[in-house]
């Protein structure tokens, strides 16, 4: 986690670009959908990586706890995440080189 710095504000999961990772801050979903999303392990504090978009741009597939889950934009708009900084200036963590 040292390699990442949380951005200050939580943003919708749908704003996370392909290839980037976020940490779930909160869910603004209701009812059954909320339960289902939680049951898949998307509880606050969980890492979510944006994998790819459908050819038409929606839905989007995310990597969650070792599984791949596709969600529509309407849902991901309602999931708040902290995007992890892993931009080009800070290269991805290399095992054995941490300080």
């Amino acid at each position: 986690m040292d390699h990442f710095t949380k951005t200050q504000k939580a943003i919708p999961l749908s704003d996370i670009p392909v290839g980037a990772t976020g940490v779930i801050a909160s869910l603004n979903l209701n009812g059954l959908l909320r339960r289902r999303v939680l049951d898949l392990g998307m509880v606050p504090g969980t890492f979510v990586e944006c994998l790819r978009q459908s050819p038409s741009g929606d839905p989007t597939a995310y990597r969650v706890r070792g599984t791949t889950i596709a969600l529509r934009r309407e849902s991901t708009d309602q999931i708040a995440v902290y995007q992890l900084k892993m931009g080009p200036e800070t290269s991805p963590p290399v095992p054995g080189k941490e300080g």
């Binding site: 339960r35 289902r36 898949l40 070792g66 599984t67």
Partner: protein, 255 residues
């Protein structure tokens, strides 16, 4: 859903339920054990009914019930209801929980929930080959120790580990052991409320069902289910509170 069909017979076969997430190779295991040609699929929700098949091992006959693949037993989808109700009311002699080795964390969510309902469980960690390809290895002994139930590794499509699985199933039915399996430790706030609720719940259903689990379901505000449970174990308590919703009513309500 005749879940009570097999209880109450003297010489009935041992009933073994097969639970697991979708896409963990549950149906492959089912087919491998029973030889029944049930088509297996690689997408969620393939098993929409409880498929049944029989097999025998060491001169004992078993009835294997393939439950629909579910991520959890908490939400209220048809599949989860079928799976949960069978484990809860069908009173199988044993439940095999199939986990995919490569996504153990998500799969353990279900296993832990099953272990809250019943200690009669054998864990089957399937798809070891797929996990190996992704450089993932599972410490089965460690898993077994932590969960308090046997954990067997398998590669169902090649048949690897299935004998050990059967051995463990037979042994576990023979001697369920006395150790309480791993129970989920909840955050303090939840634990306090549960501790308060347990005695009240116990008065309602006695010891027929794990009162801790039932108390948690109360907090989960799953009313329809609580009423179903109480009706099952203590019918006179909830006359007039039943709120079964049929498909049609459900539909009318939605449209």
């Amino acid at each position: 859903m005749d879940i009570k069909l097999f209880t109450g017979h003297k010489n009935r076969p041992h009933v073994v339920a097969l639970a697991g997430n979708p896409n963990v190779g549950k149906s492959t295991i089912f087919n491998a054990l029973t030889g029944l040609r049930q088509h297996t699929g690689n997408w969620p929700g393939k098993t929409v009914n409880n498929a049944r098949g029989t097999f025998s091992y060491k001169n004992k006959s078993f009835l294997l019930v393939d439950l629909p693949g579910t991520y959890s037993l908490l939400a209220r989808s048809v599949e989860e209801e079928i799976a949960r109700d069978f484990i809860c009311f069908g009173q199988p002699d044993l439940t095999i929980v199939v986990l995919a080795a490569s996504s153990l964390e998500r799969n353990l969510n279900l296993a832990l929930q099953v272990l809250e309902i019943t200690p009669r469980v054998v864990i089957c960690v399937n798809l070891l080959d797929e996990a190996k390809k992704n450089n993932i290895y599972v410490d089965l002994e460690g898993l077994s120790k932590r969960l308090g139930v046997p954990a067997i590794g398998t590669v169902a499509r090649t048949g690897q580990g299935l004998d050990e699985l059967l051995e463990a199933v037979a042994a576990r039915i023979e001697d369920p052991g006395t150790n309480q399996p791993r129970q989920v430790v909840y955050s303090q706030e939840v634990e306090e409320i549960v501790a308060f609720l347990i005695p009240q719940v116990q008065r309602l259903v006695g010891t027929a069902i794990n009162p801790r689990w039932l108390a948690l379901r109360l907090l989960d505000s799953d009313r329809a289910f609580i009423e179903k449970i109480v009706q099952h174990f203590n019918p006179q308590l909830c006359i007039g509170t039943s709120s079964e919703i049929s498909f049609d009513q459900h539909l009318e309500a939605v449209i």
